[in-house]
């Protein structure tokens, strides 16, 4: 066991998959020599050589598009979008190519590419470095979308993503990159994509979140607990596929639900979670299911961020309102 940040856990996972599968290649902007702007791939080029871990020119569509071709020759590319806000330059390759090669060729070719990208706010960064638009990938048929909230999950889910046969958009909550440490196993292990994690069992209300917002959700859950509210806290981890049965089971038990996420509200992931709640637990609901999300605005620059990212207090407030409903 070793105490690791999420950056270290991901680095560790990358090292493991690069070691166990010689077809794995890792590339993107500043991924090689520099080891990534967040140092996630630090040391890997030295260890595995420039043929397997390398820098690309500055062109996201080129990165995603070449990965499709590499995959056709049997390679297993892990690519990095330096920030999720720049992944849109590759959007047409992701939606029209990566997600469709298997279908288009009826299984003759596949593109099981892992697309890593830091996402979300909270690091006081310039425009385009703080947004949470995971819904744009979740809505694309043919992609899996994963967002871990702990070093442990980040490692296990990433290893599963790389071992799997499907394309995965792997979004990393950059404000959790170094803010928490966790004792995790240095050896390989994997966590199957598609399973939510019931972080804490409870009976009064289900609190659902993922990724960066789990930080506040955990705090809120603790505070609420102290106030006598028994919270069942679920980290969905996998945005697509969504573990609908775990959500349903929980809400059938608690009758109440709050989903919390960072990105915009309208047409956001919260809507899908609540629709799932209706599908799975309509007759059990004791209060209207509710979402607490970011505004339908641009993710603000650093000075506006405090308005945008919900505090644990706000979450507790909403939990209380729902329980008292």
């Amino acid at each position: 066991m070793k105490n690791m940040t999420m950056v270290q856990a991901i680095n560790n996972a990358l090292e493991i998959v690069l070691t166990e599968n010689e077809k794995v290649v890792l590339y993107g902007e500043d991924v090689g020599v520099e080891g990534g702007v967040f140092r996630v791939s630090a040391g890997l080029q030295e260890k595995f050589g420039e043929k397997r871990v390398f820098d690309s020119p500055l062109a996201e569509s080129g990165i995603a598009g070449t990965a499709v071709g590499m995959a056709a020759t049997g390679l297993k590319p892990i690519i990095e979008m330096q920030f999720s806000g720049f992944s849109y330059h590759a959007f047409h390759q992701i939606i029209n190519q990566v997600s469709r090669i298997r279908n288009r060729s009826r299984g003759r070719h596949t593109a099981p590419i892992v697309i890593r990208m830091p996402y979300g706010g909270g690091i006081k960064a310039p425009e385009h470095h703080s947004e949470s638009m995971e819904v744009l990938y979740a809505a694309i048929p043919g992609l899996k979308v994963v967002i871990p909230s702990t070093p442990h999950d980040a490692k296990g889910l990433l290893i599963d993503a790389v071992r799997g046969e499907d394309p995965v958009v792997f979004m990393e909550p950059k404000r959790l990159y170094r803010s928490v440490k966790q004792e995790i196993q240095e050896e390989e292990y994997s966590i199957p994509i598609g399973k939510a994690s019931v972080v804490q069992e409870g009976s009064d209300i289900t609190l659902i979140s993922y990724g960066a917002s789990m930080k506040e959700a955990r705090k809120a859950s603790d505070t609420a607990q102290k106030k006598g509210i028994s919270v069942e806290l679920i980290d969905i981890r996998s945005i697509y596929p969504l573990d609908r049965s775990t959500i349903g089971e929980s809400v059938r038990k608690t009758g109440r639900v709050l989903v919390v996420h960072e990105g915009p509200e309208s047409y956001g992931p919260g809507a899908e979670v609540l629709t799932t709640v209706i599908d799975e637990a309509f007759l059990y609901l004791e209060a209207p299911p509710r979402r607490l999300s970011g505004f339908d605005t641009i993710a603000p620059y650093p000075q506006g961020e405090e308005w945008y990212i919900h505090t644990p207090e706000r979450i507790v407030y909403e939990l209380q309102r729902l329980v008292e409903y």
Binding site: P57, G62, T66, V68, T73, G74, I101, R102, R108, P241
Partner: protein, 365 residues
């Protein structure tokens, strides 16, 4: 030929045969054998026959939209002929001769234009990617295939196609830059057929030649007469040698003319004159190679009718097979989304099946 020696800014294309099929170079040595040339000519006739029939099936309502190849056969047949089995091909949309020679069956092509997804398994063809409709998106794939070839230490090359219009897309630029930086064995053939749907190439770009775009990436570029089978073949062979020897990518601009409509839904009269179309008629690649072969006394045009009749039968047989292929089932809609059906898709399929059952419609496999 020494590809790297050519000037990509040279507007005069590399050419061997004039419009009458006469050799215009002074010291030219035929590199292809007579029988190879005859084979090539037959392939061009075959492609043209396929094209004619495809258009007519479409008119009969037995096929959906189809992009005619008329006038571009030299280019696609030459491309199909230069590849070895272990070489890769990454298609664009208008070079069916090349796909066919790579192993794609006519039945599959017909299935494709009949809107059946099974088509693109390309069951008998190896090392060919499926056709991708979004213009230029295939070029990054081809560059990635090139990286894969290098990675695996193979001596193969990858050949890809794009239209004149496609050169304006960002993907063209990004991919060729990657290919040159990574020095991968990629040959990109620009089919400059002078139009992107209605847009003439001189409104597509102000570049002197499309081959000149190679200078942006530091790779050899050459403009060739794409309607001249022999010139096209020489340029392709030279480029492939260059790439196969590890020198990196090459860009070929092949001049041609789309004699037909953009697709069967298009009407070129809206955007070009008949005079222009007529100007290109004498430059037709089939006539040109035929003249050469006839001059050489190795081809008797009188035999063509019978040949074509044979082609017609073969093509029609394959079309009928495609037409009789089982229709797309509900399963087919879901089957290739992921390696395994995720719960969402499982549920959606089941729900639909339940509906069909409930309403006593025939259950589907």
């Amino acid at each position: 030929m020494d590809i790297a020696a050519y000037d990509p800014l040279n507007e005069t294309p590399y050419q061997i045969l004039d419009a009458q099929g006469k050799v215009i170079l002074d010291h030219w040595e035929q590199s292809l054998s007579d029988s190879e040339l005859i084979e090539a000519f037959k392939n061009m006739l075959f492609v043209r026959q396929f094209d004619t029939m495809a258009i007519s099936y479409q008119r009969q309502g037995r096929m959906y939209t189809y992009p005619p190849n008329l006038g571009q056969e030299a280019l696609s047949v030459a491309s199909g002929s230069v590849l070895q089995k272990t070489d890769w091909m990454v298609p664009s949309v208008r070079e069916m001769g090349a796909w066919y020679m790579k192993g794609v069956s006519l039945k599959e092509l017909f299935l494709y234009y009949r809107g059946h997804e099974i088509a693109q398994r390309f069951e008998q063809a190896n090392r060919i990617m499926p056709i991708t409709v979004p213009i230029a998106s295939q070029i990054p794939h081809a560059a990635g295939v090139g990286y894969g070839i290098k990675f695996h230490g193979e001596k193969a090359v990858v050949l890809t196609f794009i239209g004149d219009g496609g050169t304006s897309e960002g993907d063209f630029h990004e991919a060729l830059n990657f290919a040159a930086v990574w020095k991968v064995p990629l040959i990109t053939v620009i089919q400059n057929n002078h139009y992107a749907i209605s847009l003439p190439v001189h409104k597509q770009t102000a570049s002197k030649t499309l081959a000149a775009k190679s200078l942006s990436y530091g790779m050899p570029g050459i403009r060739v007469d794409g309607n001249d089978y022999i010139a096209m073949h020489e340029v392709l062979s030279g480029s492939i040698d260059y790439a196969r020897q590890g020198n990196g990518p090459v860009l070929i601009e092949a001049l041609t003319y789309r004699r037909g409509a953009h697709t069967t839904s298009d009407d070129p009269k809206k955007y070009r004159t008949q005079e222009e179309e007529q100007e290109w008629e004498p430059k037709d690649p089939v006539n040109r190679l035929r003249s050469f072969l006839v001059h050489k006394n190795i081809w008797n045009p009188d035999e063509e009718a019978e040949l074509i009749e044979g082609y017609r039968k073969e093509i029609d047989t394959q079309f009928l097979e495609a037409e009789q292929y089982p229709p797309h089932s509900l399963d087919d809609v879901f089957a290739y989304m992921f390696s395994e059906l995720p719960p969402e898709l499982e549920a959606q399929k089941q729900e639909y099946q339940d509906y069909l059952n409930a309403t006593a419609q025939e259950p589907q496999k």
